[in-house]
Amino acid sequence: MKDRTITIAKIDTGIVIDHIPAGKAYLISQVLGLNALARETGDIIAIGINFESPSMGRKDIIKVENLSLSRDMLNVVSLIAPHATVTRIANGEVIEKHKVEIPGVVGDIVICPDRFCVTNHEEVPGRFYVVDHSPLTLRCHYCESEFFGPLIKYKEKT
């Protein structure tokens, strides 16, 4: 294999989300609303897809300049990338590195798959309880439906 070194947009201050399964970075950026954020702030957002990784083979990586999301907000990444790591950088120095944790409650980022659920008919923000980690299973706060796998669909913030 040919050695290649690829660096993407070194950031001085912000957040790096690493160890994302290959192909999931775009979905994560949509769920976190990074597109809208970039439009608003003009800050750099770098999305790397299919990087080589000793532990994962291929992985994705996201770097967001000047972003300071709370742990809770970043924990939604765990629904898509359970083994992702978050590195917080300030003035070129790593100030914190942690793994994402699966939250107990998920907010209005998921669409309830039950078409008879009130959330699909009224303007009401969704709320879901994580009832199982493996496979990741959610229960709708309103209709009480439990669902997992491909039924977990994320709202796309454009």
Partner: protein, 313 residues
């Protein structure tokens, strides 16, 4: 335990202790010396977004029996809902009219939970689509306890359309809160209990000793059960003139002659309305309990109103 001001939305919100407490209060309210005065100055809003006969009538009579009044609507087509008013706004509006409690039935799942979030006053779920109907489950549990003197350790068979029946799902989940129940699910394979509930039954074995069996013939289990809970095989689940519907209805039909080997105290229950699943000749047997069960619905709803309105503690 104090139920004053509390919502009743889902059986999943209630612990076994809370259920037991409600069931214990039923005879207290039923035989209360001042029953007619208990809710003298209370008014219940009935928000019925879809038609209902038994639930609606029994809630109305329950409120009247406690000396209270009812208002609201029973047909959403004559309200602002047709002007596309949101559920949230409809509930908010009624919340501000000076009612003391809201009883809501709605075709959408989760509507009662949303209503409870919109309202300051307590909300009772009288059925949110195929999701929950907690007052039905409580009256089922009350009827079981009344006839068997206990719930722990009973053998309870559920028969018919177990795939789509809200009452049997909710009853199963409630029974899993009790100890050592044996559940027998009798249905055609096409209408079997959903896998998610079977998984819950499996988990409950370790925690509470619950066991379950899936079977296909009523006759195989009739001598073992304490309660035979029959349900209707709904026409709307089948295509027009489906031969399967007739076939299932003839197999999952209880007749008096089948009850010969039943335990003397065994009771047949049914959430009603029945179609063909219980032959009329069963009515005359000592096992028939479905009409008393429906009547218990009135007493259970009186009790819930009294507890939630805080007039009985």
């Amino acid at each position: 335990m104090d139920f004053k001001g509390k919502d009743l939305i889902s059986m999943n919100d209630l612990t076994r202790e809370e259920i037991d407490e409600i069931l214990q209060k039923v005879p207290v309210v039923q035989n209360h010396p001042e029953k007619k005065q208990l809710c003298r100055h209370k008014v219940s809003a009935m928000l019925f977004f879809e038609p209902s006969t038994r639930t609606r009538t029994s809630f109305e009579v329950a409120m009247r029996n406690l000396g209270g009044k009812v208002g609201g609507f029973y047909d959403a087509s004559i309200t602002s809902v047709v002007k596309e008013e949101s559920l949230w706004d409809t509930v908010k509006m009624h919340d501000g009219y000076g009612f003391d409690v809201i009883v809501i039935r709605h075709p959408l799942k989760g509507a009662a939970r949303l209503a409870a979030e919109a309202a300051e006053i307590p909300v009772i779920n009288a059925g949110d689509g195929p999701n929950q109907h907690p007052t039905q489950t409580l009256l089922d549990l009350y009827s079981i306890k009344e006839t068997q003197d206990k719930i722990d350790g009973l053998t309870i068979a559920m028969v018919g359309d177990l795939a789509n029946g809200r009452t049997v799902h909710s009853l199963t989940e409630a029974l899993l809160k009790y100890n050592d129940c044996r559940l027998i699910f009798i249905s055609p394979r096409d209408l079997a209990m959903p896998r998610s509930l079977i998984d819950k039954c499996r988990k409950a074995w370790a925690e509470r000793g619950a066991t379950f069996t899936e079977g296909s013939r009523i006759e195989d289990y009739i001598s073992e059960v304490d309660v035979l809970y029959m349900t209707r095989i709904q026409k709307e689940r089948f295509e027009e003139r489906s031969p399967l519907l007739e076939k299932f209805r003839s197999i999952y039909r209880l007749e008096a002659s089948m009850l010969k080997s039943a335990k003397p105290h065994m009771k047949v229950m049914h959430p009603l309305p029945r179609v063909t699943e219980i032959a009329p000749d069963v009515d005359a047997t000592d096992h028939a309990y479905y009409f008393q069960q429906a009547r218990n619905g009135l007493f259970v709803r009186e009790t819930l109103l009294a507890l939630i309105l805080g007039v009985v503690r």
